[in-house]
């Protein structure tokens, strides 16, 4: 999987690259509009991360170029700009998703995965972790062979963990993943706890080991250990 990261801020770019590489993606970088434009014209990518405010041009023009070339690459806009109305614009132009800066790296992984799933496999892929299998196109979870019935939020939570295995997921990032901007209530952490409790119980009822580890005071981790 090859990802192009178009971001002018070098420190942020290195963080993104490091993070996505640790997820197992091959990453290329572009710091300016011209560089990015050259790369998308020359090479094929599975996913392109585009910052909107770039030296030498507007990231939206890159999205336009990708769409005009009928590129199969998924497009994820990452921007500090506008947040709300640019979002509408970006999606209208054909971007697959939009992430407002600052964002959680775990959220970025989850979004990139979702885009790649939709783009490359038309949804026909399975996510596996030990005895767990998730078929996102059918929204189905299997423990071994046995199907597991989850609520929508429990399912989203599990998917989020599976996108970020062996990585600490902070409560804040889980809350924002599940509730978006509406996560801004301190109570939401209690609800995460409740959802997790139910999810663990359901997993254990089907005989799966409890893979979810609590990292005290910080969050949770889907751990193979």
């Amino acid at each position: 999987m090859k990802i192009l990261i178009v971001e002018d801020e070098p420190t942020l770019r290195t963080s993104l690259v490091a993070h996505l590489q640790s997820d197992g993606y091959r990453c290329e970088e572009a710091a300016t509009y011209a560089q990015a434009h050259e790369k998308i014209k020359l090479y094929r990518y599975d996913c392109v991360l585009v910052d909107l405010t770039l030296p030498g041009g507007d990231g939206l023009d890159l999205v336009r170029t990708l769409k005009a070339d009928q590129s199969p690459a998924g497009v994820l806009i990452i921007s500090a700009r506008g947040a709300l109305d640019d979002k509408v614009w970006g999606l209208k132009l054909g971007a697959d998703d939009y992430l407002t800066k600052p964002f959680h790296l775990a959220e970025l992984t989850a979004r990139v995965q979702a885009i790649l799933r939709r783009r490359q496999f038309q949804g026909h892929n399975a996510l596996r972790f030990r005895a767990l299998t998730v078929l996102p196109d059918r929204a189905q979870v299997l423990v071994g062979e046995a199907p597991l019935t989850l609520t929508r939020k429990e399912y989203e939570l599990l998917l989020y963990f599976l996108a970020n295995p062996n990585r600490l997921l902070t409560k804040e990032s889980i809350a924002e993943h599940l509730w978006g901007d509406a996560a801004d209530t301190s109570d939401s952490f209690d609800f995460i706890y409740n959802h997790l409790k139910n999810l663990r119980k359901k997993l254990q009822e089907k005989g799966a080991v409890d893979y979810i580890r609590t990292v005290y005071g910080l969050g949770y981790e889907l751990s193979a250990e």
Binding site: E9, T11, L12, S15, L16, A18, H19, T53, A80, R81, G82, A83, L84, D85, K87, V88, T100, K101, P102, F103, H104, L105, A106, K153, R167, L168, T170, E172, S173, L178, W179, G180, D181, A182, D184, T185, S186, D187, S188, D190, F191, N194, H195, V215, Y216, G217, L218, E221
Partner: protein
């Protein structure tokens, strides 16, 4: 009242007064002149008749006028009198002159009378000509007024229409006003054009500032958050480092949320959300209630949602989202566990009622920025300010009332406008 109509009204009033006074003066003058003329005639007649009377002892037959001879003494001089006219069957005014004449040692009193009625017709003619002139003057003034307001004020109305249609956020260009041949309007248009240029420039710089501020602050925040997240991954198992990282991370999140809220507020204030589309609030409310479902059930709130068939409202989708989420979130956040939350969507109103802590003082102060019910709460206290700004932007009515009897907080948004 229109300017021209007002001035015309005063003109007409003055014209009518002048006419009335003029007519009265003219009437008096004419009457005086005619009477004097009549008296002169009577005196001439006296001079002519006296020698004849003295010679013949008789008066010549009167020609239309009346002449009488009497031996009774009368007050000499001019006087007015009325005489009955058997043909016209009415009393008619006469001017008469009495004077004595000595005929062979006997004093006779002569009375000469002339009808004043003959003078009526020139008077009538004069007066009716005057009336016709006045009516003509009034009518032509009214017509001139209409024509002037149509023609002379046309540039003014064009300017007015241009001002009404001028929307800074839609086309932050200068106001385009047609050239006029009238100095006052040209000056007005110049002043307005300059004003719009200044406004446009201010707006542009404010917009750029907001955008740059958003970008320049969000980017370091994004870097900070990304680095802290990497650090968290590394330091999560370190008992000493973990709480420090957690606190730093939490503070970054709060800062970025605060920043997003403030940026959104200033963008609404700058009117940077011009693209309103018709949308159904019921769908937005249903979607957000779905999203917040757990927060509602987690606090064991009793949720009641009533939606009448609502009329679509014209809003920017993002602002509609923001409005609804902030209203609902406010109602959930400041609720007792086990309380109630009632959302009512009428044809032109959205009402959110919820139980919550007792309020003293004016609830509308929570519309101010950074006003929160719990001073230590990590939320920046911008939710209701955003709600207020969105309502103001679209001219919606917004009321926050607290009912002490039931302990209910009611937020009422009327999409009709202020009620």
């Amino acid at each position: 009242m229109k300017l021209l109509a007002t001035t015309t009204r005063y003109y007409l009033l003055l014209a009518a007064l002048l006419f009335a006074a003029g007519t009265a003066a003219l009437y008096a003058g004419l009457v005086w002149a005619l009477r004097t003329e009549m008296e002169e005639k009577l005196v001439t007649e006296r001079g002519y008749l006296t020698p004849i009377l003295q010679r013949t002892g008789r008066l010549p037959l009167p020609l239309g006028d009346q002449r009488t001879l009497s031996r009774h003494p009368r007050p000499a001089g001019f006087s007015d009198t009325l005489e009955y006219d058997p043909v016209g069957r009415r009393w008619e005014p006469f001017r008469q002159l009495h004077f004595p004449v000595q005929v062979k040692g006997v004093t006779y009193w002569v009375t000469l009378r002339k009808s004043l009625l003959e003078n009526d017709s020139p008077l009538g003619v004069v007066l009716s000509v005057l009336a016709a002139v006045l009516i003509g003057l009034l009518l032509s003034l009214a017509a001139l007024n209409r024509w002037l307001s149509g023609r002379l004020w046309q540039p003014f109305h064009q300017t007015l229409a241009a001002l009404r249609g001028y929307e800074l956020q839609r086309q932050p260009a200068t106001l385009r006003l047609p050239a006029t041949g009238i100095d006052e309007f040209t000056e007005l248009n110049q002043a307005l054009t300059q004003l719009s240029e200044r406004l446009g420039a201010e707006y542009q710089s404010l917009k750029e500032f907001t955008e740059n501020a958003a970008h320049e602050t969000q980017t370091p925040l994004a870097i900070l958050q990304a680095k802290l997240e990497r650090l968290l991954q590394l330091g999560a198992r370190n008992a000493e480092m973990a709480p420090l990282l957690r606190d730093a991370y939490g503070a970054t999140l709060r800062l970025s949320r605060l920043h997003q809220g403030l940026t959104l507020l200033s963008k609404i204030e700058n009117g940077q959300f011009p693209d309103a589309v018709p949308l159904r609030l019921a769908e937005v409310v249903a979607e957000k209630l779905g999203l917040l479902e757990e927060l509602v059930s987690g606090k064991e709130l009793t949720l009641t949602y009533e939606a009448a068939d609502p009329v679509p409202v014209r809003m920017h989708p993002a602002l509609a989202d923001s409005l609804v989420v902030n209203l609902l979130q406010n109602a959930i956040k400041h609720n007792h566990p086990g309380g109630t939350l009632t959302v009512r969507l009428g044809p032109h109103a959205l009402e959110v009622r919820n139980t919550g802590p007792t309020l003293s003082g004016d609830p509308s102060r929570y519309f101010e920025r950074f006003q929160k019910q719990l001073p230590g709460s990590p939320s920046p206290g911008l939710g209701l300010s955003i709600v207020q700004q969105v309502c103001r932007h679209y001219g919606f009515g917004l009321r926050y009332t607290y009912e002490p009897a039931t302990g209910l907080h009611v937020l009422h948004v009327s999409t009709y406008g202020l009620d």
